[in-house]
């Protein structure tokens, strides 16, 4: 009995935290989304969301998030794999993690200089006779900077699952005559799929609501759901519409969480049934 009440006592901070900072905001967002500009109860915001502007916005948000996640994965997986093979794993890992401690805005500002018309990249291009290119304020620069910022978040989970994988399984696959490609697709990748899924969650969901980078690097020519929410709250002062977009953003997050959810049942970890 005593241990039981003790346990629920320790739960209090957690429950209070969840109620105040997770449940309450979501309820408030849902509540605000049900009021129009004049504070009357209505579903007009939801109707509005399904007009062409917001649907197009959602689609383009998804499209950019998809591209960003794709490139991040493409770079992060081989990097993580290579990391597990190096001698000083922890040191290399630290070098990759350190940039993520620096404020996101600072890194973004740095890229304004790097990509500028008179920046180092253009100097380099001129050296090779290619001539000055407009790099800043293009889709390319937006995707490049976003990928750069998200890479550590993709590498970490993949590295962890690759590191936990039992290397003898690869030897076993080889011994049984599997080719390198087959070993990868049939053994290594399936065993690290959980790391990939957490990586995708950590990149795709924030990509949907990126907003400072859209202005500083993409010159507002890329609009994400995050930008639209910020605009509705700060500029239009239409809290209802802002909340409605937020409700959909939360919905998309839940869907993605379910799609990339971890199915632990019956899975093999290091060859043992968990």
């Amino acid at each position: 009995m005593k241990t039981n009440s003790n346990r629920s006592f320790y739960l209090i901070p957690y429950v209070v935290w969840m109620l105040l900072f997770v449940v309450a905001p979501i309820v408030l967002v849902g509540y605000f989304s049900l009021f129009d500009l004049h504070g009357n109860f209505s579903f007009v915001n939801y109707q509005n969301f399904f007009t062409s502007v917001y649907l197009k916005l959602t689609l383009s948000s998804f499209w950019y998030a998809l591209i960003i996640t794709g490139f991040t994965l493409l770079i992060a997986y081989p990097t993580a794999y290579w990391l597990t093979k190096t001698k000083h794993k922890q040191l290399w890992l630290l070098l990759i993690i350190i940039p993520s401690w620096i404020n996101l805005l600072l890194k973004t500002y740095a890229f304004i200089g790097i990509f500028g018309v008179f920046g180092p990249i253009n100097k380099f291009l001129e050296l090779f006779g290619i001539g000055k290119q407009q790099i800043l304020y293009t889709d390319f620069s937006f995707i490049f900077v976003s990928v750069y910022i998200f890479i550590p978040f993709m590498i970490l989970p993949i590295f962890n699952s690759l590191d936990k994988m039992n290397p003898t399984l690869i030897d076993a696959a080889r011994d049984l005559g599997s080719s390198t490609w087959n070993t990868f697709t049939k053994v290594i990748f399936p065993l690290t799929i959980n790391g990939v899924k957490s990586g995708i969650q950590a990149v795709f969901i924030p990509s949907l609501s990126l907003f400072m980078i859209t202005r500083l690097i993409a010159g507002n020519k890329v609009i994400t759901l995050g930008t639209a929410i910020e605009q509705q709250f700060l500029v239009t002062q239409n809290w209802g519409m802002g909340s409605t977009i937020a409700v959909f953003l939360i919905l998309f997050m839940v869907i993605i969480m379910i799609l990339t959810g971890q199915k632990d049942k019956g899975e093999l970890v290091n060859g043992h049934n968990k």
Binding site: L37, V53, K56, L57, I112, N220, K221
Partner: protein
């Protein structure tokens, strides 16, 4: 466990020492912290030197914060949080704040320097009798351009921005009213229109500008234009003055179809904690010497008659920045459109931004 406790103690000791040093420094520099006002202003919109002078003269510490749109400023004041004592919104925002009962009336007996202001800028329709607001700066919206990057184009008309030779060269300021206003002005409509047909027409017109648009950004425009990274930008007059201060190649023009004439005034929000200090600050900013020095630094046009006398006549005689009354006739002042129409403007602006590729 012992290690953790030691680490925590070490951090606490270091913080305490830093706190004491900070406190001592504040004391020696005369910042007692008892008497302070918080000023909420646009970015790059005051001479830091004048704040220092104010602190020295009155002993009031100034806590200075900036915003980048009237709407963001209003949202923050409406929701409380920080109790700002003085803010500098534009005329249509003042109209709205007045309506929402967010302002404290200004006691004119405490602002003797008000007599320095040109009567043209007093008693304007958005605040009759200047009951709630005192003029700070005024200016226009127009086009800043770099002739050395262009082949002889001028910008007498908004239509000139549509010139095919300006592909990927035009930067716009990230403001719904400025950009939509430009579209409306190009077609000869009022930039305060509530007519949905006209607004749609303006949006369609703006969409044809897409190939020429390089970016839609905020204060970064100034740096970009200074470095000569872009040839043309839609800006506020003071931003143009800021750019020209560093890069003399740049020119500024207000197109003939008309544009926006705006006034930024100082107000005291309802949330003010130090109303007395706020009055002192407003009066101080109207001092001819301070106003002249401030206008020199900021680059916008001052409404202060006495200050103009102290300034370089080359600056105050420049009709690009101090348009004559006759020229001002062509320009329009923003009206408070109400949430519904403002929402429409923003939605169409969003549509336009999504179309810009």
């Amino acid at each position: 466990m012992k290690d953790i406790i030691q680490a925590v103690v070490a951090i606490l000791v270091v913080s305490l020492v830093l706190f004491i040093i900070n406190f001592q420094l504040d004391k020696t520099s005369g910042r007692s912290g008892n008497d302070s006002i918080s000023v909420y202003n646009w970015g790059e919109y005051i001479d830091p030197e004048s704040i220092k002078q104010f602190e020295k003269e009155t002993g009031i510490t100034v806590i200075y914060e900036t915003f980048d749109s009237n709407e963001a400023m209003m949202t923050k004041i409406e929701n409380g949080g920080t109790s700002y004592d003085v803010a500098m919104p534009s005329e249509y925002a003042i109209e709205k704040m007045k309506k929402n009962d967010l302002l404290i009336p200004i006691d004119h007996s405490k602002i003797p320097n008000l007599t320095n202001i040109d009567p043209y800028f007093l008693d304007l329709p958005f605040d009759p009798g200047n009951k709630y607001s005192i003029p700070y700066f005024w200016g226009t919206v127009g086009i800043a351009f770099n002739p050395s990057l262009l082949d002889g184009q001028t910008f007498e008309s908004w239509e000139d921005l549509w010139d095919p030779s300006l592909k990927q060269e035009v930067i716009l300021v990230d403001g719904a009213r400025e950009v939509m206003g430009m579209g409306l002005n190009t077609l000869g409509y009022s930039l305060n229109t509530k007519d949905e047909g006209q607004l749609q027409e303006a949006t369609d017109k703006l969409k044809t500008l897409s190939p020429n648009i390089k970016a839609i950004i905020g204060d970064e425009i100034v740096e970009t234009m200074r470095r000569g990274e872009s040839a043309v930008a839609l800006v506020w007059s003071g931003q143009a003055a800021d750019i020209m201060y560093v890069n003399e190649d740049i020119d500024y023009a207000v197109p003939k179809e008309g544009s926006n004439l705006w006034f930024d005034n100082m107000i005291i929000p309802k949330t003010a904690a130090n109303v007395e200090g706020a009055h002192q600050f407003i009066n101080f900013m109207l001092d001819p010497k301070i106003a002249a020095q401030n206008a020199d630094y900021v680059g916008y046009s001052t409404p202060n008659e006495q200050a103009i006398k102290l300034m370089d006549p080359k600056v105050t005689g420049d009709e690009r920045f101090y348009p004559t009354e006759e020229m001002r006739e062509r320009l329009e002042v923003y009206k408070n459109l109400g949430v519904e129409t403002l929402g429409k403007y923003n939605e169409l602006f969003l549509e336009f931004k999504m179309d810009a590729q």
